[in-house]
Amino acid sequence: MQDQEKRDDREVVISVEGMTARLEGNTILEGITFKVFRGEILFIVGRSGSGKTVLMKHMIGQFRPAEGRVLINGVDVHGAEESDWAAVRRRIGVLFQAGGLLGSMTLGDNMALPLEKRSNLPDSLKKSIIRMKLGMVGLADTEHLLPAELSGGMKKRAGLARAMVMDPEILFFDEPSAGLDPVTSVGLDDTIADINQGMGTTMVIVSHELPSIFKIGHRMIMLDGQQKGIIADGDPRFLQGESRDERVVNFLNRRNA
């Protein structure tokens, strides 16, 4: 945690404060606290069942914490007025595990959804934005396709393109590499890193893919199912060699404890 203090001069975009997550009476996470800083790629890692996705769903307002709170840009995600939360929501994008594209709409219509609330935009500009974003994720000229016509990797890319239509400040990813072959997965990592570099987008990524974590992660926090909390916070490359916690070292070195 010393690490974190050194960085405290950086701007905080997300602050999770003493959050406890309970689902159907089971406590999944207990009293966890951490901050996400502007422009970083933060990985939330942990073994299956440690509550990574649950944590992310609390951060994006899908689940309500049993205790504690989550602040995005200083706005309490769960306690804010609807209008304040709506303003925050416009600044975040989420790539769901399955992509979350609406199956009944073409990619273009899917991407037009976040723009729909901006009815004052001329149609041609909307179309240009959609084409530009699809191009950024390597899916140029696909706006007429239905999600069912795409491969798994393309669906993730399309979901990413839709998540970034509004140029969000923060992008959340739920297991972006799940179900992708290693080559496709590397391509998606590169795209994520490019967007982070080019647009300065803060990235919060739930994953247990070690290659991705080491390749593009600036920082990781590791959750543990038994402790129901964070057992490591720092640069994954540093933690791999220097962490004193056996669980962390084993995880990062692919050892079965």
């Binding site: 994006i60 307002g61 899908q62 709506a86 929501r89 416009r90 975040i92 989420v94 769901f96 595990q97 399955a98 992509g99 979350g100 594209l101 609406l102 199956g103 009944s104 959804l113 976040p114 609330k117 979901g159 839709r162």
Partner: protein
């Protein structure tokens, strides 16, 4: 002094055999020869035990050098045999294991199957006691009632919003759903109504004809169809065709996180997904009901003209003078309520899907069953209320 043993039970083996010999030092050597897989495992075990019984020595050698192939089942037989012998105080030595045989023998651990009698392949279903069962059912019913009420509240809020902001309604989706519920539903609604009209006319004519009351068939069919059966049958058909489809469509969207994605993009899922479906049903179901009225009367007319010697004009006049416009209106008002019930319940069951594809299947069934139940319940309430109005 080698001797071939016949396989026990007269079973024939083609690719394997077991030879038993006694060495000069008095040790009994059992040599399985050939391929041993799942099919031969039982025979192999029997042969090994026979050889052990026939010899009196305390030590037994199983020579595996002639085995060309051994699968895990056969390896398990050998290991279990060795274990049995050791329990009886006899020593079994395994020799001559080639690389592959040794590998498979190393994978097999007979301890894991020791208490095989306790293992069950079926999933244990806990059977609750009577009182426990009643309690659980009560809690479940209260839970689903609460869920339905919360959903109804959200639906009413969304409907009010849509009434005041009609431009927020996704009219494209409404049109698409109107096609699904209405246009594609016309043939089956028409056919069923025609048959129902035929049946009522035919059955009532059997009763009325001996009394000379042929002419009343027209009124009977007319009133029954317009006030009661056309709205009811139409609603049940729509529940089966479209209520289930709504549950499956929305349920699949929940499973694919499409609904979560909508919410995070700032769309109210009820307004986005439910309102277009409910609106389409409200527009189309009354039209389908009128259509059902027409075909039901046509069915009656066919029986009247072909079976009762009534003329076309007489039948139509009789029908017209017995049905008031208010009867048709009653049927249409009912059909609007039924439309809300069918589409609302279909969407509700879709929205509360959890646990993947299996949940979608359950939601579809639940949507149809509970929609039909609520339609009939609402119809009974209408019957009583309209009687006293």
């Amino acid at each position: 002094m080698s001797q071939e043993k016949a396989a026990p039970g007269g079973l024939k083996r083609t690719s394997s055999s077991v030879a038993v010999s006694e060495s000069t030092t008095g040790t009994v050597v059992v040599t399985p020869v050939g391929r041993f897989s799942l099919d031969e495992a039982e025979l192999l075990a029997a042969d090994l035990h026979t050889a052990a019984r026939d010899s009196q020595t305390s030590g037994l050698v199983v020579d595996l050098s002639k085995v060309s192939y051994l699968d895990s089942a056969a390896a398990l037989s050998i290991k279990m045999f060795a274990g049995d012998m050791e329990q009886n105080g006899r020593q079994v030595t395994l020799t001559g294991m080639g690389g592959e045989v040794q590998r498979i023998m190393g994978m097999v651990d007979p301890r894991i199957v020791e208490d095989v009698s306790a293992s069950r392949l079926s999933h244990p279903e806990p059977v609750p006691g009577t009182i426990e069962g009643i309690g659980e059912a009560a809690v479940a019913t209260a839970g689903s009632f609460k869920g339905l009420m919360v959903f109804t509240g959200e639906l009413i809020r969304a409907v009010l919003h849509s009434l005041f902001h009609p431009r927020d309604i996704r009219w494209g989706d409404v049109a698409g759903n109107m096609r699904g519920v209405g246009v594609q539903g016309f043939p089956i609604v028409g056919l069923i109504s025609l048959l129902v009209g035929l049946i009522i006319a035919f059955m009532s004519s059997l009763q009325l004809k001996p009394l000379g009351g042929d002419i009343f068939v027209a009124a009977l069919v007319g009133i029954a169809m317009v006030k009661e059966l056309a709205p009811l049958m139409t609603a049940i058909i729509v529940a089966g065709r479209s209520g289930s489809a709504f549950a499956a469509e929305i349920g699949t969207m929940v499973v694919n996180e499409e609904v979560d994605a909508l919410a995070i993009m700032g769309f109210d899922p009820v307004r986005f997904l439910v309102i277009p479906r409910v609106a389409a049903a409200i527009i189309v179901v009354p039209l389908l009901t009128l259509y059902a009225d027409f075909f039901g009367l046509l069915g009656g007319l066919l029986v009247g003209m072909l079976g009762l010697d009534l003329t076309f004009i007489t039948y139509i006049n009789q029908t017209g003078s017995n049905i008031a416009l208010s009867d048709v209106a009653t049927g249409l008002v009912k059909s609007v309520f039924f439309a809300v019930i069918v589409s609302g319940i279909g969407c509700y069951h879709g929205m509360k899907v959890t646990r993947g594809a299996e949940g979608v299947g359950r939601a579809t069934t639940a949507a149809v069953v509970s929609a039909i139940f609520f339609i009939v319940l609402a119809d009974s309430i209408f019957a009583v209320v309209l009687h006293y109005l």
